[in-house]
Amino acid sequence: MLYREAGDFKTGYRADGQTFPIRLDRWGYYILLAVAVLVVPFLINDYWANAVFVPFLIYAIAALGLNILTGYAGQVSLGTGGFMAVGAYAVYKLMTAFPDISIVIHILLAGGITAIVGMLFGLPSLRIKGFYLAVATLAAQFFLVWLFNKVPWFYNYSASGQITAPTRTVLGHAVTGPATSAPAKYLICLAFVLVLAWVARNLTRGTSGRKWMAIRDMDIAAEIIGVNPLTAKLSAFAASSFFVGIAGALLFSVYLGAAEVGEAFGINKSFLVLFMIIIGGLGSIFGSFAGAAFMVLLPVLLKNLLVGQLGWPTDLAAHIELMIVGALIVLFLIVEPHGLARLWALTKEKLRLWPFPH
């Protein structure tokens, strides 16, 4: 009754092909954007920024990146943590080597560097598929972490092997370093998310996205109809790594401020991002956001509920939290194997009919 498309006429292909073809969706999207840009920055404090919004936005970028590779192009990757490390160390080296250049350019360059590294490790995908490719990317994960631990040049020869982000500003406001205000942190991440989500959406519904999906669905058939697997696969690796690299750069410079490769970018990170896209929905932009929100927010929510509200001991709460998150993941996958994005689509289907189910 409320959510409907009746009377929503399209008069051109452009209107028909837009991201949110239903007017109500479009409004919802604009309202969400307005709240995110105009309201949240004025209400946000350190806790909300550091525990909720900034990690959510950064992981959303990483999930978008991995979704391009795994969800759209069908190439399984377990190297996300390693590629995030490349982004983080690239931005660190750039920040300290060229302090006068804007951090925004450094973050984009870090994404570019990660894209090159990702393409390099994507080369085996031309010969191997599925589990074998997963193992090859797993090797990338371990190799990259080892490299950043082993070669002191990457961490500027600091005694502890830690990298620490110096203060850098955008338009006069600090966005990295300890003096960063909560709104600045949030806004820089939000800006990257908005631009990158827009890019991802347009990449995936354009020629390149169609090529990736053709490769995903059946690579031999795709080759026969004229998709070059070399360029399609490598461009998927490059685009995906670009996103993941930016996520890593933001994670280190804006969110953590200091990082140690084995701890911040270990294999756990690869799995975390992979879980995000599986739970959120493979091959879906909305799914990347939903999955990131689920994996980032649920533990925080449970912790505050169990320890803050119910006053449970912290160790018990931590264990229960792991069990609840694990059980919910299994439950979600049984109830809806295609993730939260599919659940959301089904909800919308039902809403269209509501309150008259037939």
């Binding site: 300890p178 140690e260 701890e263 911040a264 927010l297 929510l301 912790k303 912290t314």
Partner: protein, 428 residues
């Protein structure tokens, strides 16, 4: 609809974080889960119990009760940051995260938020230089002190000469484990021993290849900077290759009961550094028993009372409580804030007499801090594991580290940090 409900739940749950408190708040960023949980949980118990003792016996410090809200970090830096952010709004006076990784993360943050950070025996060594690190304290000893005291002990064992000896450093491949490398390299140049660095990736359950290398190289001594499950694995592997245990020395984080007991008799003779006493032969335990353990108020029912890490948590709480007392004295008010506590730390002086008064005679070294020295004397002593009796025995007195080597290194590292972070050193 489900999404709306979920969002509402999220909001409701999150808004409830960290209730406002009126007393002195000392958050305990602990970890009782994960590969470091076995060690972290004992430390957290000691930390909690000492403050419970003060609350129960003395009614707090200077009449102010102490609240110790706990937050689980799982030794994970991201969770540590979340814990810091969620507790700092409650008027937190000081942080003691028991993790070098989290410490590195918090050093810039506490300097901006103006909350002291106390990292006894861990964290960033060069934070000893109070001119640069205004808000960080790491007395009574730091990693480089530990490395130096260990080498001093070996010098004594070898009649003052380590020329031509081979020493291997087995370390946790993280900021924590890498800390002593530079000191040991300088010491090896000074004393003429060769140093082999052998990293172990976290968490370190699997160390076959590392110990194979040790078996091949046959070093005279092995020094270990390990934590959590890595310690047990290393001591087990050392026992497996029949490495002489008395030539195997751990840093203080590798010298607790949980590290040696799984290896059984094979661990007999293993040595470790410590910067405080062990065991329950101290008068403070009588009070603890009356007011905390028998009253059923002990953290986790007092199952770890008296262990090495419990003692260390207790000692950290003791130093913090003494600093609070000092701060109250200086500020002339019992309800101090975080920056007043910092002043208390800078003028802290825990004499041996004061320690005896507190019921822990000869427990730790004298701690005397100043504006430029945030690290105390750096003295540490050696303890050895007696597997049959199941206890640690102190085998040396408190020993001074080699300040001639350490001071230039601390100055260099802290100044490099100051330059990178844009800090002008204070005048002291």
């Amino acid at each position: 609809m489900t999404k709306l409900r979920f969002a509402a739940l999220v909001a409701a749950g999150l808004m409830a974080a960290a209730p406002a408190l009126a007393d002195l708040v000392v958050p305990n960023l602990s970890y009782r889960t994960g590969p470091y949980g076995a060690n972290g949980t004992q430390y957290a118990d000691g930390f909690n119990d000492y403050f419970t003792l003060l609350n129960e016996r003395d009614g707090g410090i200077g009449g102010e009760k102490i609240q110790v809200p706990e937050c689980e970090t799982a030794y994970n830096t991201e969770k540590g940051v979340e814990c810091y952010e969620s507790t700092k709004g409650s008027g937190a006076l000081i942080y003691n995260p028991l993790s070098t990784g989290i410490t590195y993360q918090l050093i810039p943050k506490v300097s901006v938020d103006k909350i002291p950070l106390y990292t006894p025996g861990y964290g960033r060594t060069s934070a000893k230089n109070g001119k640069v690190f205004e808000w960080v304290f790491n007395a009574p000893a730091n990693y480089w002190d530990g490395a130096s005291v260990a080498i001093k002990y070996l010098l004594d064992e070898n009649g003052g000469d380590l020329n031509g000896k081979k020493i291997a450093l087995v370390y946790h491949n993280s900021a924590f484990g890498k800390e002593p490398i530079r000191t040991l390299q300088d010491l090896s140049a000074k004393h003429g021993f060769t140093l082999t660095e052998i990293p172990v990736d976290a968490p370190g359950q699997e160390q076959k290849s590392q110990w194979l290398q040790i078996r091949r190289d046959k070093p005279d001594y092995v020094i270990m900077y390990g934590w959590g499950v890595m310690n047990q694995a290393a001591i087990q592997e050392a026992a497996n290759i029949r490495f002489p245990m008395e030539n195997f020395i751990g840093i203080w984080w590798s010298g607790s009961e949980v590290d040696v007991t799984p290896v059984g008799a094979g661990a007999n003779g293993y040595k470790a550094l410590t910067f405080h006493g062990v065991g329950m032969d101290y008068p403070v335990y009588d009070d603890l028993k009356t007011h905390v353990i028998d009253a059923g108020k002990a953290s986790q029912d007092g199952q770890h009372v008296g262990s090495v890490l419990y003692s260390r948590g207790l000692y950290a709480a003791l130093v913090i409580s003494e600093a609070i007392r000092k701060a109250q004295e200086i500020a002339g008010t019992s309800a101090i804030n975080a920056s007043q506590l910092r002043d208390g730390f800078e003028q802290l002086d825990i004499t041996p007499e004061r320690l005896a008064e507190l019921g822990l005679p000869d427990f730790g070294p004298e701690i005397k801090m100043s504006c430029d020295n945030h690290g105390g004397s750096g003295m540490a002593r050696m303890q050895q594991w007696d597997a049959e009796a199941g206890q640690w025995n102190l085998i040396t007195e408190f020993t001074e580290p080699d300040q001639e080597i350490l001071n230039p290194l601390i100055l260099e590292d802290s100044e490099a940090y100051g330059a990178e972070a844009g800090i002008t050193p204070r005048d002291c």
